[in-house]
């Protein structure tokens, strides 16, 4: 047969897809006929084009068409021939079909308010918790770094070595080596290094403030894509040695703080570490440096280390000075990360050969694409967020099971109605479409609810902060979060609203009509039993996990570190850089004395970093030991009041007295019990001699031995430490003032600050912060996790309870007739209850058994976060199981009561 007469198959397919079912056959037939006619007249090309236009126009016209017959009452005397398709209810076009289905869906929801509310609330809880966690990820990782246009295209580079594995600060390389990388790294578009600086910044004669700055080397701003808010940003040549070191770029925040406006700083001179520096520009877009969470306000050329920090230009150029460890780069177009890493390794290898420095060859360059999280915390942050995402997926899964359950529940109830409609001629496709639109509508409502729930879930975590990450702002509704919530909700509703009904199988119209939807047997019933047991199991696992973490946090806080920090606050102080040892010594004495004299202050003492701060390592050994034999342990220079302040008593001998601290004379050493045992095998060693010191050891007498103490980081690990007076310590340019007060409020804090400011007139003095706040910071992650898991497990249990309630309640409705017969035959209400509860018990016991297994698996995932509690902690497991029994009891109570009140007469009459 000649093909010229027929339209191209593709066009027919297009027409078939676009045109609604009604009249499709006739329209396509006409289109074919017209095509044949036009192909003869105009040629096939124009005919095909017309075909396409006609299909579009036809589809549009069908979609927009008003329904026939509406408003126009069928008049008498109409033609005798039956109208085409009049035997079926109007199968309509795309547009009006959707509208009609939407209207039906709204009606359904209005009619079945209980079902609708439960489904939407379930979706909202699942979607909300997911959205909250996604919001966290979005804010912490996905949002671009403020002010840095190249936030995603730039990368960090760090140098790894066996001594500096992932999760530590990388190794550094020297300025000449870094110059070689900049020069020979052809796979890079730009490369810059930076380093953090603690700066004292002042305007005119105002009190200085402590500010974090960065020294930069290379085309820093260009790599990051930072634009000036005003003025000029330092370019690569201006950051190199030899360039004017007294030019700075500041943040909009610092400009505002010093000069009142975000651009006011440009062209002004400000004091920095006692020197004068000119602000050449202000970085725009709220730029605060390349690391989120450790934000900077000042950017100085590399050479500024000379005037501001007393370095020498030669020192900065030395080949053994590892000054460039934090690096940001942009890859050249088309360059790949591995290739770039390879090139860096190759250049370093060449340098190692040329300069005889084998260390360079051992460095493993690693590229971290994107500036979302700095390398040091990238692995741990990703891991935390992955765990969170996993947990939240469990909650979502529980919600999904509920949605599936609820819709199945409803569908079974609807069987009668559906069968009636099928019998009246509605096509399966039409019924499926209705189901789809209903699911879609539920999904949309779930999105709205989910965003509200997400906001609420995120609320308690506002301000929560993971290590070196910015504080969480709560659920911020940007486009990404909304789209995410919408996608999760609608997908959930669609998938779990339709697939289980499909799985439950097609059903026999006649049988359904006869039973009018009251029997719940076969696959549908088994699916719902399994779904309910499954969600009980999941939520039980979460509850166990939450209990384990809650116990961990409790243990962390309850753990005895040996130091009493309640009522003690700390102030980090930095004496002027040019202070002489004598001036420092005077400060060490005058600061605690001045603070101790204040009202409400019980005591004051100094140590270098505070009990939970950095640690200083010194060497200690028996007098005859060599340097190699000597132990490298924590060395803590303290003022004599330190032990009493933190309530650390001596177990042998005594702690320091005022008289021990005399300039130029050794004041002796105080050991912790564990260190005394390591050195001497016993603790009553007062009066014995040791050889100890920071770098060079000298003979010292043991004054006493104190009880063991530990830090908040590892409350179960006693520190090996020795204490000395400041007379035996090198002069430190920073120290921490510890103050024990009777009460702590802003007023007391201000008096302490003022007293210290008098002694350190040109230095920034921060507000005292309670040591407990520091401990909170240390445990931030555990607290966040524990709270989040707690909250999520409450949601999970609620969802599971709703699910169980649904299944049991439906079971009662479905078996009403059977129960009625039993009652009529003389069964007691008690027997009926046991039938219902037996069904529930089978679900609950399956759920508990599975759940305890799940909990066992989950607790091993969480194991690294646990403290003072075993992953298989019987108390937590028993508590969770008991909680479950209670919740299950509550969920079954109402349906069971209803079952007991079934009136046999009424039920049997329904027959």
């Amino acid at each position: 047969m000649s093909r010229t007469g027929r339209g191209p198959r593709l066009l027919r397919l297009l027409a078939w897809i676009l045109l609604p079912e009604r009249d499709r056959e006739f329209i396509i037939g006409d289109l074919e006929e017209l095509y044949a006619h036009r192909a003869l007249r105009d040629g096939r090309g124009p005919a095909a084009r017309r075909y396409v236009r006609d299909v579009m126009a036809s589809a549009l016209a069908r979609a927009l068409r008003r329904r026939p017959g509406r408003g126009a009452a069928p008049g008498p005397g109409r033609g005798n021939r039956p109208s085409a398709g009049s035997g079926r209810p109007a199968e309509s076009s795309i547009g009006s079909d959707v509208l009609a289905n939407l209207r039906d869906a709204f009606r359904t929801l209005a009619r079945e308010r209980g079902f609708a509310a439960l489904t939407v609330v379930t979706l909202a809880l699942g979607v909300g918790s997911t959205a909250a966690v996604f919001g966290m990820v979005n804010q912490l990782l996905l949002r671009p770094l403020p002010g840095a246009a190249n936030s995603t295209s730039a990368a960090y580079v760090q140098f790894r070595s066996p001594a500096r594995p992932e999760g530590t600060n990388g190794e550094g390389i020297s300025t000449p080596a870094f110059d070689a990388l900049r020069r020979d790294g052809t796979l890079f578009d730009g490369m810059a290094s930076y380093g953090f600086l603690g700066l004292t910044v002042s305007r005119d004669d105002a009190r200085p403030i402590a500010v974090r700055g960065q020294r930069i080397y290379g085309d820093f701003f260009e790599v990051l894509g930072v634009r000036p808010a005003v003025g000029h940003l330092l370019e690569a040549p201006e950051t190199e040695l030899g360039a004017d070191p007294s030019r700075a770029v500041v943040s909009e925040r610092l400009s505002t703080r010093l000069f009142g406006t975000s651009t006011g700083a440009v062209g002004r001179s400000i004091g920095m570490n006692g020197r004068s520096v000119t602000v050449v520009g202000v970085a725009g877009g709220g730029f605060r440096g390349p690391e989120r969470g450790v934000e900077a306000d000042v950017w100085l050329p590399f050479g500024a280390l000379v005037p501001l920090f007393g370095a020498t230009a030669e020192g900065l150029r030395r080949r053994d000075a590892d000054l460039h460890g934090d690096i940001v780069v942009r890859l050249a177009p088309g360059a790949r990360g591995e290739a770039a890493e390879g090139q860096v390794a190759e250049i370093l290898g060449r340098l190692a050969r040329d300069e005889g420095d084998p260390r360079l060859a051992e460095l493993r360059p690693r590229l971290y694409p994107g500036l979302d999280t700095p390398p040091i915390i990238r692995a741990i942050t990703y891991r935390s967020l992955r765990t969170l995402a996993g947990i939240v997926c469990l909650v979502l899964l529980i919600a999904c099971a509920n949605v599936a359950n609820l819709l199945l529940f409803r569908n079974v109830g609807q069987r009668g109605a559906v069968a009636t409609r099928r019998a009246l001629g509605a096509s399966p496709g039409r019924i499926a479409r209705q189901q789809l639109v209903l699911s879609l509508l539920l999904g949309l409502l779930g999105t709205l609810g989910g965003l509200c729930v997400g906001w609420l879930v995120a609320l308690p975590f506002r301000g929560a902060q993971l290590t070196r990450m910015p504080a969480f702002e709560g659920l911020v509704l940007d486009g990404r979060v909304v789209v995410f919530a919408g996608a999760v909700s609608i997908l959930t509703a669609l998938l779990f609203g339709t697939v289980p009904s499909f799985l439950a199988g097609r059903f026999d119209i006649v049988a359904s009509l006869r039973q009018a939807g009251t029997r719940d047997t076969g696959r549908s019933g088994r699916i719902r039993w399994a779904l309910s047991a499954g969600q009980l199991a999941l939520s039980l696992s979460l509850v166990v996990g939450a209990l384990l973490l809650a116990r961990t946090v409790h243990n962390l806080y309850a753990a005895d570190t040996g130091l009493s920090i309640e009522g003690v606050s700390e102030v980090f102080l930095a004496p002027p850089r040019d202070a002489t040892p004598a001036a420092l010594e005077a400060l060490y004495r005058s600061v605690p004395a001045a603070v101790e004299a204040l009202p409400d202050v019980e005591g004051a003492a100094l140590d270098p970093y505070g009990p939970n701060g950095s640690r200083l390592l010194g060497r200690i050994g028996l007098p005859e030991s060599t340097d190699d034999d000597a132990l490298r342990v924590q060395m803590v220079p303290v003022t004599p009041g330190w032990f009493e302040l933190l309530r650390l008593p001596a177990v042998s001998g005594r702690t320091f007295r005022e008289g021990d601290w005399r300039p130029g004379e050794s004041g002796g050493v105080v050991l912790t019990a564990s260190l005394a045992r390591r050195l001497f095998g016993r603790t009553d060693v007062a009066g014995r001699s040791v050889s100890a010191g920071f770098v060079d050891r000298r003979p010292m007498t043991v004054v006493g031995v104190v009880r063991d103490f530990s830090t908040a980081y590892a409350p179960d690990q006693p520190q090996d430490a020795f204490f000395v007076t400041y007379a035996d310590a090198p002069p430190f340019h920073s120290f921490t003032l510890l103050v024990r007060t009777r009460r702590f409020d802003p007023e007391v804090a201000q008096t302490i600050r003022s007293a210290v400011e008098e002694l350190l007139p040109d230095q920034p003095v921060p507000d005292p912060t309670p040591l407990s706040a520091r401990v909170d910071d240390v445990h931030a992650e555990e607290r966040i996790f524990s709270r989040l898991l707690g909250l999520l497990s409450i949601l999970a249990v609620t969802l599971a309870a709703v699910g169980l309630y649904g299944v049991v309640a439906f079971g009662v409705v479905a078996r009403r007739r059977e129960l009625g017969v039993r009652l009529a035959l003389g069964a007691e209400a008690r027997d009926v209850a046991s039938v219902v509860l037996g069904h529930a018990a089978s679900i609950v016991s399956a759920g508990v058994v599975l759940g305890l297994g799940g909990a066992w698996a989950l607790s091993h995932v969480l194991e690294s976060r646990l403290f003072g509690v075993a992953p298989v902690d019987p108390a937590s497991y028993v508590a969770a199981a008991l909680l479950f029994a209670t919740v299950a009891g509550v969920a079954c109570w109402a349906p069971t009561r209803r079952a007991m009140r079934v009136d046999p007469a009424v039920t049997l009459r329904e027959e």
Binding site: G5, I27, G29, D30, D54, V55, A57, G75
Partner: protein
């Protein structure tokens, strides 16, 4: 009941085809007489409306090879429709009586 413009055109085309035609025939008639392209989908919308108003009736006809074996939907003009068409035509004639020459003159002048 007033007729819409496309309704008039469709009814006239049907009339020209001796009162009975399927979609493609009506579309071709309109295209050839008026030079106007009406997509079949749009045509069926109009025809459905006319059917609802009681001006035409429809039944399902036979299939032909050039339609790829698809059946036709055939429409027939009903007396009610013919009457309506007549009323409309009378109205137009009343309105245009004696003004056609002026209409032409004005149109000439405008161009």
């Amino acid at each position: 009941m007033a007729l819409g413009e496309l309704e008039q055109v469709v009814l006239l085309a049907l009339l020209r085809r001796e009162g009975e035609a399927h979609g493609a025939a009506i579309a071709m008639e309109i295209e050839e007489r008026v030079g106007r392209n009406v997509a079949p989908g749009a045509l069926y919308t109009v025809l459905e409306r006319l059917q609802a108003k009681g001006y035409v009736e429809a039944w399902i006809g036979d299939s032909t090879p050039e339609r790829g074996g698809r059946r036709r939907k055939v429409y027939r003009l009903l007396p009610e429709g013919a009457r309506e068409l007549r009323d409309w035509y009378d109205g137009i004639r009343e309105l245009t009586d004696g003004v056609v020459a002026r209409m032409d003159a004005l149109a000439e002048g405008a161009s």
